[in-house]
Symmetry: C2
Subunit: 342 residues, 2 copies
Amino acid sequence: MEKKNVNIVIDTIGGDNGAPVIVKGAVKGIEENSNVTVYLTGHEDELNKLLSEYTYDKNRIKVVNATEEITCHDGPVEAVKKKKDSSLVVGLNLVKDGTADAFISAGSSGAVLAGGQFIVGRAKGVKRTPLAPLIPTSKSPSLLIDCGANVDARPEVLVQFAKMGSIYMQNVVGIKKPTVAIVNIGTEEEKGNALVKETYPLLKACKDINFIGSIESREIPFGKADVILTEAFVGNVILKLYEGLSKMILTEMKGAMMSSFKSKIGALLIKKNLKKTMSAFSASNKGGAPLLGLKGLVVKIHGNSKEGEVISAIKQCNNFVLNDVSGKIISGLVKEEEKSEE
Amino acid sequence: MEKKNVNIVIDTIGGDNGAPVIVKGAVKGIEENSNVTVYLTGHEDELNKLLSEYTYDKNRIKVVNATEEITCHDGPVEAVKKKKDSSLVVGLNLVKDGTADAFISAGSSGAVLAGGQFIVGRAKGVKRTPLAPLIPTSKSPSLLIDCGANVDARPEVLVQFAKMGSIYMQNVVGIKKPTVAIVNIGTEEEKGNALVKETYPLLKACKDINFIGSIESREIPFGKADVILTEAFVGNVILKLYEGLSKMILTEMKGAMMSSFKSKIGALLIKKNLKKTMSAFSASNKGGAPLLGLKGLVVKIHGNSKEGEVISAIKQCNNFVLNDVSGKIISGLVKEEEKSEE
């Protein structure tokens, strides 16, 4: 059976490693995903020059010129409104006008979030659009939803997030009946802040998800649930603490290993095994963080992404589109709404 | 100059390691702190038997019989009200009636929090009593305030916490002008949820603290501030994620080191240096988490505490009382209230 053609835009400006890693990732990405066409937005001359170094199917990588840059120093909403010729806005417009199905960027998170909402727009029935990265655990990665801009969200919004997250884990990551847990400060049902207490019974009553109750943050690293549901402020705190604490511990351990001749020899002997374990923590093989609930797919990859992350994100977008996750999210939410109107 | 006599109660029931480690810690604790008298609450016979194995100044360790036990399966508030003869309630009553200045327990956190508030009671001018553990960083430990039961706290409560935390770090830990930062999802002043946005200008205007702005959670492990201010729900998430993620990473690394003969040899060579580094993460030399703002001091030590933690907590309580931190907290808060009434 021939696969549907999937069109993916990649923003080549704004990542820490510049256009070269994006171009390299795009070339490899279309090699590995034979049904994908990539649009690269950014400085035309630079991109054509970089592409000229590769052999690839010229019909499947297209350059779209964009001259402005959005940096993390720009106010996200303002930048998206004013910098019409930025690689981000030009790229998102290609999703809006239907040329492309998905958009990938390593640029400013704020601008990606704002642009996704203002340019691509929320899908019908979606209250808010959550940013949902996969985080490493000692088992398989969990989806942390929401880490976006929806601070102080209401319970009914969190319930939608739980559904979107479940649909994503099922259709993109391939987990059959993904478990959903809400981040809480205890595991008893009566525990929590006002938001959790209000949301808990709604989740329990929701038949579309496999809700397993509360999760304390100390259990998150051990992969106790596939979908970790929380309001964006807390999600952000979890995501960034994960990053910072891992980095700190690894740095300290490295320091300890390098502090004597004997331990340096020891470090050499364990290097290979340690590297294998640590690569499990790397995001490169998991794609980026999708912004869910939009009319198209928008994926934020880490600022310091290299070609590996770009390739994974292409595959992730391809799975998302081929499995019609957007359609499933919309029908899942609409179904629920109709039920509640009955 | 002779030091003031300080009386400290220690609950010997409820910790994972039972009364033996508490008794051992108490004996060492009075050796190291010549002005301290310890009251041990728990099963009289058992305690006397354990004590008979040591040589110590018999006037400075006193046993107070208490037969009931509060476990983490009891509802905290109910347990504190009903189990009048529990080691926890008997101990807290010794603080309430002025026999003791401070109380230490390795028992149920919930019961310690509830008992502190209901039995010892809030000091004048204190709106809420925060639980404030020290957390390890790559520099010196930071005070994470609040990790207690005050979820959904109001901005003026957080401002009090910031002051209490500063006074604690200055007088108990010995940091001259402790820096205070509020946990946020960005470092710009306009970022945050409703609570942070409301609290930020109040902290900025507060002259009693050294407020340095927002801190993103990824910076917490690098010791960017002495006092990490946050609402209890988020504080709880940070504290428990710290615990869980450290454990997971260390377990995975250990697994990697033990996975081949070569790496096992390597692990042996780095063991000593690694252990030194990792002990910096241990809580045993930092005392327990104080519940601040009460009429006496209540300190919660980790459930799996050993004698080291008990000794540190005794020292911590002694510093707290000798430096009159309670008095300083009350006068600090009252001063502010008078100002705002002007």
